[in-house]
């Protein structure tokens, strides 16, 4: 298979675009797609300070690398979840990337250790509050990510969510008809109220396979192993179903998610009440304990921490 842009041997076929690229052309293609995402979704400007959530996996380290290569001011936050073995290995990958790549760009890594804050790792904490580990993890990560971005005055926080993540999440939300979650499935979520940082997903145009290929081509040393807590996760089932459809009809994932975004945009143009900013402004108030925005009196993070520290559960 030859590269469609130059005479070299291709390293990746991309059936959804009916094309194939060699390493350098793949790198250029991916960076162009990320730049297009940033501009078309008004994610951030060259002078903005960005906080990237990194886990040591391919998506987040690739996102950090691309933003730095494109000349953006991107620092990163790593949340150490305290999962025996896995957290040590993921932390090591992030530290190495920060040292080998990010530091020379003047970029820094911030680390938040769950155990220092909560007195226990994520698994023990989930057991204490009697909630699934992935849901406990999600609450903690979202909270800490927003807190660090807000306290350190970052203009925007960026996550490595890709096309597969967003299409699978959309499929899950549609299957359950969770309309309130559909409203939050935009690649850019505004800093709608005091205490909420703007959130963006610059990799939403790229599939997991394209991002992993970019990481291999550009020698990004990421953690291949899956989080042990994710075993049996519904998201994996949805992704598998979508990949089977993708094999039969290339471009399915893109048409599904991008088509949804088009419909969302049209709906927002008809009714300004439909925007996330409007919804947030009418439903969110500061948490009575920490001050972060919440729909309840006390936010889910503070309720969870209170429950974890309470002698009676």
């Amino acid at each position: 298979m030859r590269c469609r842009k130059c005479p070299k041997q291709a390293v990746l076929g991309m059936p959804r675009h009916n094309t194939a690229f060699c390493g350098p052309c793949l790198t250029e293609f991916v960076r162009t797609q990320v730049q297009r995402a940033i501009k078309s979704q008004t994610m951030f400007a060259p002078e903005d300070r960005i906080l990237v959530a990194v886990s040591g996996g391919k998506d987040s380290l690739t996102l950090w690398e691309i933003l730095l290569k494109l000349g953006y001011r991107a620092d990163a936050l790593y949340v150490d979840l305290g999962i025996a073995g896995y957290s040590e290995r993921s932390h090591e990958k992030v530290n190495r990337f920060a040292h080998d790549v990010a530091e020379s760009c003047g970029s820094k890594l911030i680390v938040h250790t769950v155990e220092n804050d909560a007195g226990a790792g994520i698994k023990e904490l989930a057991n204490l509050v009697k909630r699934p580990t992935c849901s406990t993890c999600g609450t903690i990560k979202r909270y800490q990510f927003n807190r660090v971005a807000w306290e350190n005055k970052y203009d925007v926080m960026a996550t490595g969510h890709n096309l597969d993540d967003e299409a699978a999440r959309l499929l899950g939300n549609v299957l359950q008809w969770q309309e309130e979650y559909l409203q939050k499935q935009s690649p850019t979520l505004p800093a709608s109220v005091e205490g909420f940082s703007k959130k963006v997903k610059p990799l939403y145009r790229m599939t997991e396979r394209e991002i992993a290929a970019y990481a291999v081509v550009n020698r990004i040393d990421y953690l291949v192993e899956e989080c042990p807590m994710a075993k049996g996760a519904k998201m994996l089932v949805y992704k598998d179903a979508l990949n089977r459809l993708e094999m039969e009809s290339p471009g399915t994932k893109q048409r599904f998610y991008w088509g949804f975004l088009e419909k969302q945009k049209k709906a927002a143009a008809v009714s300004s009440n439909m925007t996330m900013a409007n919804i947030d402004q009418t439903t969110l108030l500061p948490c009575e304990t920490c001050g972060q925005p919440t729909t309840a009196g006390t936010c889910s993070f503070c309720r969870m921490m209170a429950r974890a520290k309470s002698p009676i559960r």
């Binding site: 990746l12 886990s55 996996g57 992993a212 291949v224």
Partner: protein, 64 residues
């Protein structure tokens, strides 16, 4: 050829030479969910893996 797989980590022996696309079929894997790497280089589905080669079939799907 030696094929290294993850989730769970294991090595399997396959008869070569074989095209990458046929390796996916034999292992009943969906190509959209994997990359094939020989040494440090990616392989496309039409490339042939020789009998004495070692390759990694790396999953690209994560649960997040």
């Amino acid at each position: 050829m030696k094929v290294h797989l993850s989730h769970p980590t294991r090595d399997v022996e396959l008869q070569g030479p074989k095209r990458v696309a046929d390796i996916f079929k034999e292992l009943q894997l969906i190509p959209e969910a994997f990359l094939v790497i020989r040494g440090r280089d990616l392989m496309t589905e039409d490339e042939v893996v020789a009998d004495g080669d070692s390759i990694e079939v790396r999953p690209v799907i994560s649960g997040g």
